[in-house]
Symmetry: C2
């Protein structure tokens, strides 16, 4: 199996598609740009969702569910937001099919069942939600509202790739309402921190935190905070965004509250989301030419036990015993009971699927009270005493999680280059890739020119990095600080 | 608050709407027939989902996700299924909006962005899934496929009611593929059993298990198994269905497998689903004129602790201590820290929200080492020793769960009437309501006539009830067994 994967340095894009397919993560579908998320891919998403959901709830958020459809008149109310999404909207215009008189057995759209007002399939839910919040908010006592929703959204993208960019995708979208500007900014930043923490601690994917330039902001936001990760081909991935929406949606939907002095004010808003795109980031951060590599904290199977050469009675009963001991510690274990495939085939398969630890159990192991431990990240194999297996595995899972993070961090550090000269920037962008830390004069025009000429964009104006004045690498004009450029997915 | 609810015997339908609204379960939306599921309602759905998901996984099922849209050519492939849903389909015809030249600031559907083939927003996913299964199934080794999906679906119903019948709703839909007819039937029946177990053990809602008559079957199924519950107004609610689909979808989508003799056969299928409709069933099974009544196993808040008259320091610290002791036993506790409302108001609010147990803690209680326990189901209040609170609450939660089930069961037993005479049937249907156990000659015609004349339908041909021959109450023709009639939601 493994040899069927295209190596990364031969064709990175094909390597990615091969992994998605051969690790059983997703499949194409009959609908243009829409994927089928297969059980193994969905199990990763469930693990991500459960952890994020826990973090949201611990910070006071609750879940709710708003309609899939947005009437056109609501959709267009916040003009910038509408403009940002209008070109990629799936539109429902009819509500009934009927038999096609010219094609027996076929159906046609019933022209008499035309909707009075078209419905947009939500590309994001600010419009439908703020239209609802108007009824929920009267006084400052009704604030804050801290709601999240797990949902599907549709953006009719022209070029799609599984997980990274699909016409329909799954995500969570938080939509909060606040009495003050400060409180809304604090909320947007707290979520930004949660996203960064999730990316680094669970996905083992280092991220740069920062604000988007005005050009790259979410349509309708006053400020967008982003986490940006670096993929193994030197391209950036925007992995999650949290938006301070100001009073834009409150004004568009006339959502006001009476403050404690009985004066009416517009409500302040945030929204924030991460999506199944994170699975694409996970794949491209850790995987190798043998297949998927998964951080233990998100792996659907953390440990697989393979009886060698076959799951015979004695081996299987020992494997079950070990499996149960591991499960008692909350470890997700699979015991391979398939007797139709050879061990070598199975090993390749579990490598392909990125299972962090493989335990191989042979007859001689039982005689010697040993077991073979193979780790996916480094491919190292060791033989340990059976008595140590639980402690060893627990420790090793932590070690693998940490090793993946450190490895990805080293890669990023090696591909984070400060450049002052635009020619050098262009050369290094093509040869080395990665993040570039450059001075920029702060204008749209320069940003646009650089994008036109190099395809690189400003990924973010980073937080947590020293501010340093200089001159813009493109225009030579004064610059207050370096920003992060990269080509991006 | 409580007095704002319309009493059941005054206007049952308004009583239901009042509870949905005032308990904070759902709200109407700007989209015709679509509701907003509010946080408290969604928390009930999360509890249902988590329990069902556990039961599905324990029986070998895995989750996946298939596209929201079904191309029209796939939708119409299984003709009966297509015919069953064609009249209530939301149809996407365009993929872009543009600025309306006649209305500055407004958008219009871009006529140039018409889809070559219309997309149906899934009313159910058999078509898109079986079109995918064709690629996944070659040999008997690929079977069974045991997949479930949690998703939203859209059925453009003309008359909608929150939870019971909405244009968009949330559900799970299982879609399994099998090598043999027997295995598929066993699967459909096992899920049917899981649904019944969930309804009775978790929702405390007694159900009758049986098969649908041919008229009432799912479009495209060879057999539909249903669980039917009885609401307090004497009407039945179809609460969950599991379908044996035969080879209908395999034939429509040409899904074959080679068996162990290397011969090609069509694959056997099941599908099964329950939806947010269950929340409607939950409301109408247990609630009363003071508001929602929730079974402890699905209540978002199982115990609320109210310091009386106010959450002052000493009371609050004691309340937290009790709360933590309860939480340590896995009980979902809310401590009321609101100091702007009076106890009486709060009591009515928690009654409205159906919180199973309310603990009232006053200063004298602390002096006496006591606490007041109020149960929602019977409204009984007792004062117990603080030292007993954990054991008492644990026992009481079980007791309330059981009491709700027994109460609902008694109601159903009192409204399950065997009738042999059609005139009497008509009278009792209008005066007493409930399930009627009657002889039927097994023909469509009789079934249709009874429906036309009385609005009662055959809810199911029950399992687990004695078979007894007789004569059809309508036609006087021979009948092999009694079936269950009722008016239904």
């Amino acid at each position: 199996m493994a040899k069927e994967i295209t190596p990364r340095d031969e064709n990175y894009s094909q390597w990615y598609n091969d992994i998605v397919k051969k690790a059983g993560l997703a499949d194409s579908s009959a609908v243009r740009g829409c994927m089928v998320i297969k059980p193994y891919g969905y199990a990763i998403w469930e693990n991500m969702r459960d952890q994020l959901d826990k973090m949201f709830k611990e910070t006071g958020h609750v879940n709710a569910y708003f309609p899939l459809f947005v009437p056109k008149s609501l959709f267009e109310a916040e003009e910038k937001n509408a403009e940002g999404f209008a070109k990629e909207c799936a539109v429902v215009t009819h509500y009934r099919l009927k038999n096609d008189p010219n094609n027996p057995g076929k159906l046609m759209v019933d022209p008499e069942a035309k909707l009075e007002e078209e419905l947009i399939v939500r590309p994001t839910s600010e419009a439908i939600i703020w239209n609802t919040y108007r009824d929920w908010i009267q006084s400052y006592r009704d604030l804050p509202i801290l709601i999240n929703q797990w949902a599907n959204v549709v953006r009719w993208e022209m070029r799609t790739r599984p997980f990274l960019r699909t016409a329909e995708f799954l995500w969570q979208e938080g939509h909060t309402a606040h009495a003050t500007k400060t409180e809304a900014i604090v909320e947007a930043k707290m979520i930004h921190d949660i996203y960064a923490q999730f990316a680094e601690e669970y996905m083992a994917m280092p991220v740069i935190k920062g604000a988007k330039s005005e050009n790259e902001r979410f349509a309708g936001a006053d400020d967008t905070y982003t986490i940006e990760a670096l993929m193994q081909d030197g391209k950036a991935l925007q992995a999650g965004t949290s938006h301070f929406l100001g009073q834009n949606f409150a004004k568009a939907f006339n959502v006001t509250f009476s403050n404690d002095k009985n004066e009416y004010e517009y409500v302040w808003a945030t929204s924030w989301g991460v999506s199944t795109r994170l699975i694409g980031g996970l794949i491209m951060t850790h995987s190798d030419d043998e297949g998927l590599v998964l951080p233990p904290k998100l792996a659907p199977i953390q440990v697989v036990i393979v009886p060698i050469p076959k799951p015979e009675d004695e081996l299987l009963s020992k494997a079950n015993e070990i499996g149960n001991a591991l499960k008692a510690h909350g470890i997700k274990v699979k015991i391979d009971t398939d007797d139709t495939k050879r061990p070598g085939f199975k090993f390749a398969e579990y490598e392909m699927k990125g299972v962090p630890i493989r335990l191989g159990l042979g007859k001689r192991d039982i005689e010697n009270n040993t077991i073979e431990v193979a780790r996916r990240d480094t491919k190292e194999k060791t033989t340990i005493s059976l008595a140590d297996v639980v402690n060893h595995v627990l420790k090793l899972l932590d070690e693998i999680q940490e090793n993946l993070f450190q490895r990805a961090k080293r890669y990023r550090e090696n591909h984070f280059t400060a450049v002052d000269d635009y020619s050098e920037f262009k050369v290094q962008l093509e040869t080395k890739g990665g993040f570039f830390f450059c001075h920029w004069d702060g204008t749209h025009e320069t940003e646009e020119k650089i994008k036109e000429e190099t395809k690189a964009t400003i990924r973010c104006i980073p937080f947590d990095m020293p501010s340093e004045s200089g001159v813009c690498m493109y225009s030579g004009k004064p610059s207050e600080r370096r920003v992060v450029f990269a080509k991006a997915y």
